[in-house]
């Protein structure tokens, strides 16, 4: 059971072969056994998990099962939940309890899911390795000396080690796809505006988007179908989003077994010097397989890609600098002891509450927005962001979908890059442009390099998650890379 996909568990639950309580118990056992090693979960309340599972079994005995009935799903500590603390892995929100559920949490509950617990992440989602967490770093189950990626590293690690069959993450510059890639699982970042951001602690509002992290492509489709849809309380969530909407449409998109007629763009800017050769070879081999499945590989160019990281590290910190102003010690969250006056309360509360990466980004953002610098940084970055968006629009006149490596490297060692923020920032070099353009992106496992997972990233035009899922499903069905679990965690290994 623990190594099953969400859809496999669903089949067994629907057939009456097991119960939600049994399923929940098996995962709780694994969490109890392995979380000390991985630090993937930062909050877990077994009794509450079992209570939800019991309620789900009861519901099933009286009604028709809902789409995610009894299925365990873990959520990143960035999602506000009425049950348990929501801390965004920051000391400034230590023991914060939100009096509301995020929209996507409500949606998961309405779909019958059993929420397993809160997963580890970089503080306020700022990081690519889950090392900036106030609760200590999370580890990659494929090699516990390495990082799981970030910022949704806890979700990725938990799914890869089968401590939960699926999890929710958020993706601002690659925070779902990069850890999915580094942990050998599937992660989907939907089109910006498809999933409500309400109740998700904001990092960079124009980039943040929630999405699933799962063992299979179909599992990602199931969860995305459940969490997407217009929310009148989020002005950036789209009414009547184009493309697929019903669960059946989402599932049908995953029925593809070949790539006949599919034109795949291979952007030269994503296969560059400086990236890990083994990663490059692995992704090239994956593209070869796509060709064998009937796809046509077209060499394309996304010329402004080289500016993506720079643009991102102006826009995201700028928005973050304002989004994080509310953590001031006045109404909730950490307040320093015995403040002398208002200024002292602000500065000490925030100094004590925020970690150094968060401070770095707040300062960067405040600087980029300050008078005299705004035009040169923020405004310029927004202009280049438009050029990056146009690159994709032009590319999609030629091809149906774009394929790239998700990350230029496989998982690196803990502490390896923590003293070098700029190198750390380059971890997201292949994922960031997708957020800047608001496009859907998916990372799926496509092999191993030096025994560590490598991810293949798919990028589709806005609202064309079906194209994304189609290509990924065809690749998945033709290969053997999906849903593996490391030996050390009881899996059948590579």
């Amino acid at each position: 059971m623990p190594f099953s996909s969400l859809s496999e568990i669903k089949t067994r639950l629907d057939a009456g072969e097991t119960s939600a309580v049994e399923v929940a118990k098996s995962y709780l056992d694994r969490i109890a056994a392995h979380n000390n090693t991985l630090n993937a979960f930062v909050h877990i309340d077994p009794e509450h998990v079992l209570a939800q599972a019991e309620a789900s079994d009861k519901y099933r005995s009286k009604h028709e099962a809902r789409p995610l009935e009894g299925l365990p799903i873990a959520v990143k500590d960035i999602f506000c939940t009425q049950d348990g603390p929501t801390q965004c892995c920051s000391n400034i929100l230590k023991d914060f309890h939100a009096p509301y559920d995020a929209h996507v949490i409500t949606k998961l509950k309405e779909a019958g899911a059993v929420l397993v617990g809160k997963t580890n992440m970089d503080e306020f989602a700022m990081g690519s390795s889950t090392e900036t967490s106030a609760f200590g770093p999370c580890r990659n189950p494929w090699n516990t000396d390495t990082i799981p990626g970030g910022s949704s590293g806890g979700s990725a690690s938990a799914v890869a080690a089968a401590l939960t069959p699926a999890a929710l993450g958020t993706d601002t510059g690659g925070s779902i796809r990069q850890p999915a890639s580094l942990c050998g699982i599937t992660g989907l970042k939907p089109t910006y505006g498809r999933v409500s951001r309400r109740g998700i602690i904001a990092f960079a509002s124009s980039l943040d988007q929630a999405g699933p992290m799962t063992r299979t492509v179909k599992d990602s489709a199931m969860i995305t179908a459940a969490i997407s849809g217009h929310d009148s309380a989020d002005a950036t969530s789209v009414t009547d989003a184009p493309g697929i909407s019903s669960l059946n449409e989402w599932l049908a998109a995953c029925d593809k077994t070949d790539m006949k007629g599919l034109k795949i763009g291979r952007p030269k800017e994503y296969f560059v010097d400086g990236m890990d050769d083994a990663v490059r070879t692995t992704v090239e081999a994956a593209l070869k397989q796509c060709e064998e499945l009937g796809a046509e590989i077209v060499d394309i160019s996304l010329p402004h890609t080289k500016y993506a990281v720079a643009v991102y590290y102006v826009i995201a910190p700028s928005e973050a600098s304002a989004n994080l102003s509310r953590y001031d010690g006045v109404r909730f969250g950490h307040r320093c002891d015995n403040p002398e006056d208002l200024l002292d309360m602000y500065t000490r509360s925030r100094d004590e509450g925020f970690g150094s990466e968060v401070k770095r980004r707040i300062l960067t953002g405040a600087f980029a927005l300050s008078s005299g610098y705004y035009d040169a940084y923020y405004l310029k970055a927004q202009q280049v962001r438009t050029l990056i968006q146009q690159d994709f629009i032009k590319a999609f006149e030629q091809v149906d979908i774009i394929a790239t490596p998700t990350s230029p490297v496989t998982a690196f060692k803990l502490g390896e890059k923590t003293d070098d923020p700029l190198t750390m920032y380059l971890s997201d070099i292949f994922t960031i442009a997708v957020n800047l353009a608001g496009l859907p992106g998916l990372s799926q496992p496509c092999g191993f390099a030096d025994n560590m997972p490598v991810g293949l990233q798919w990028i589709a035009p806005a609202w064309q998650e079906d194209t994304l899922l189609g290509a990924a499903s065809a690749y998945e069905s033709a290969t053997d890379w999906t849903a593996k679990t490391p030996e050390a965690f009881g899996g059948g290994a590579t």
């Binding site: 506000c80 929501t86 965004c88 929100l93 914060f96 939100a98 009096p99 509301y100 995020a102 951001r197 309400r198 109740g199 998700i200 602690i201 904001a202 960079a204 509002s205 124009s206 009148s232 309380a233 989020d234 002005a235 950036t236 700028s318 928005e319 600098s321 304002a322 994080l324 102003s325 509310r326 001031d328 006045v330 109404r331 909730f332 208002l342 602000y346 405040a366 927005l369 300050s370 008078s371 705004y374 923020y378």
Partner: protein, 476 residues
């Protein structure tokens, strides 16, 4: 050499919506502190703003009323600063592209009408309220006002003295109330004004300006501007330079003081609000709002003068608010014979009594049709104007209509000449000396006889007839 004053005004005006600008909380004034709050206006993590479209429509209406351009696409920005009563650490405002740009307001001046330019009107949210008074070592914060929608109306530096500034503010205040886009109650902070003031020699470029804050009545605004103008002239004439700063008006000491530079050394780091898409309105929506725009005070005042022959004073009083003008017109509809009498009775008698009772025209116990009923009785000589005032008092008290009160109290005017003659004869009989005196040429005694007759008739004799019959009988 003389000095010229240059004044520009920024008015923050609360838009009267039922709910706040970006959440569903009530905007009702005076509720228990923090009772009208929710996760959105408390700035809780992950909460997002959703724009109140009523606030948008009212801003557009205001823009149309000052003949301004409505931007079909406007944008919201974040204005960043830390303050305990600003929950998010930024205020959602419109900085780069406001909803309204370029209008004007005509004001009366001694030299005739003058046009004052309005640079822009933008929407923003209010902050909460910090309370320090009477608290030892702590401050309290009330966030009921947090997120209440405001319009900031920014004028051009077109005013040349405090009187013009006040005239502008009064025109604007009246317009805002007339459009019913704001209660504009200054005591409730619904209409707040900051003034930018500078002085220069005529013909020279603008001097350095200071910003005057914390003036919560027209009187204080005038005092503060006058004070500031003299202060600046003195500084310059003493060889000094005016420092660009914000100054707070102290209405107790009648002076302004500089705010510490720390308080105003703000870099607000404006940038586009990523939680709100650009605000788009269609020309069709703007046209619909325009079509529903009421007659404006100026137009109305003029029509009242021309169509109903009202004095400028009455026309002005009755066009102060839309409710007043509507009430007046329904009064005229019910008593069409004499619009001037209607104006007179409404402006002087009814409004005076309502003011005493602390009531608004909308909660007048006397309706327009019932006041018309009273005026009908004056017109047909059933009662005199003097008695009518007593009847109106009774109507205010009981809410009953005029006829019933006249009937019940037996106030019907005596118009029967026989009955009046009888009273006059009785009075003459009782005052032979005065009759003698009058007939001997003391015309002034007429007043004495009128008074006696009215008294004897308990005020119910028709005064015109009393005069006429007295003359006839005394001269017999």
């Amino acid at each position: 050499m003389s000095w010229e004053t240059v004044i520009g005004l920024e008015v923050h005006c609360q838009i009267n919506t039922k709910t706040k600008a970006f959440c569903g909380c009530s905007t009702e004034f005076g509720a228990e502190p923090n009772s009208q709050t929710c996760p959105v206006c408390l700035g809780m993590p992950g909460q997002l703003p959703v724009l109140n479209t009523v606030a948008v429509d009212k801003s557009i209406l205001t823009g149309l009323a000052i003949d301004a351009k409505i931007n079909l696409e406007s944008k919201f920005d974040r204005k960043n600063y830390f303050y305990p009563d600003l929950p998010k650490g930024y205020q959602i405002s419109q900085f780069a592209v406001p909803i309204v740009e370029g209008g004007y307001i005509d004001i009366p001046t001694k030299a005739g009408e003058k046009r004052i330019g309005v640079t822009r009107i933008h929407m923003e949210e209010d902050a909460g309220k910090s309370m320090h008074e009477g608290l030892e070592g702590v401050s309290h914060i009330d966030l009921n006002r947090s997120g209440v929608p405001l319009m900031e109306i920014v004028s051009e530096p077109d005013m040349r003295n405090a009187d013009e500034a006040i005239a502008y503010l009064k025109q604007l205040h009246q317009l805002i109330r007339f459009l019913e886009v704001s209660g504009a109650d200054m005591e409730k902070g619904q209409f707040r004004c900051d003034a930018n003031v500078s002085v220069r020699r005529p013909g020279e470029p603008f001097g350095t300006r200071t910003e005057l804050k914390n003036m919560n009545s027209f009187r204080f605004i005038k005092q503060a501007i006058d004070y500031e103008v003299l202060r600046q002239i003195e500084v310059i004439e003493d060889g000094g330079e005016v420092v660009q700063e914000s100054r707070l008006w102290d209405s107790v000491k009648n002076e302004s003081r500089s705010m510490r530079s720390k308080e105003e050394a703000h870099d607000y780091r404006y940038f586009p609000e990523p939680d709100l898409p650009p605000l788009r309105v269609s020309q069709k929506e703007v046209d619909a709002i325009k079509a529903g725009m009421p007659e404006l005070p100026g137009q109305l005042r003029q029509r009242f003068e021309v169509e109903f022959g009202l004095s400028p004073y009455d026309a002005d009083v009755l066009s102060q608010t839309r409710k007043l003008s509507v009430w007046y017109e329904s009064l005229v509809a019910a008593h069409p014979a004499d619009p001037k009498r209607c104006a007179n009775w409404m402006a002087n008698e009814l409004l005076g009594r309502l003011k005493e009772a602390g009531k608004d025209i909308t909660d007048s116990p006397v309706s327009a049709s019932s006041l018309a009923g009273l005026l009908d009785r004056i017109a047909d000589d059933t009662i005199s104007g003097k008695i009518a005032k007593d009847v109106l008092d009774a109507m205010m008290e009981s809410g009953a209509d005029a006829d019933r009160i006249i009937e019940e109290k037996g106030l019907k005017q005596v118009t029967d000449s026989g009955a009046i003659d009888a009273i006059i004869q009785a009075v003459m009989h009782a005052n032979p000396a005065q009759v003698e005196g009058y007939r001997g040429g003391k015309d002034k005694l007429m007043g004495f006889f009128v008074g006696q007759v009215m008294k004897a008739s308990k005020g119910q004799a028709n005064p015109g007839m009393v005069n006429q019959r007295l003359k006839a009988l005394l001269n017999e």
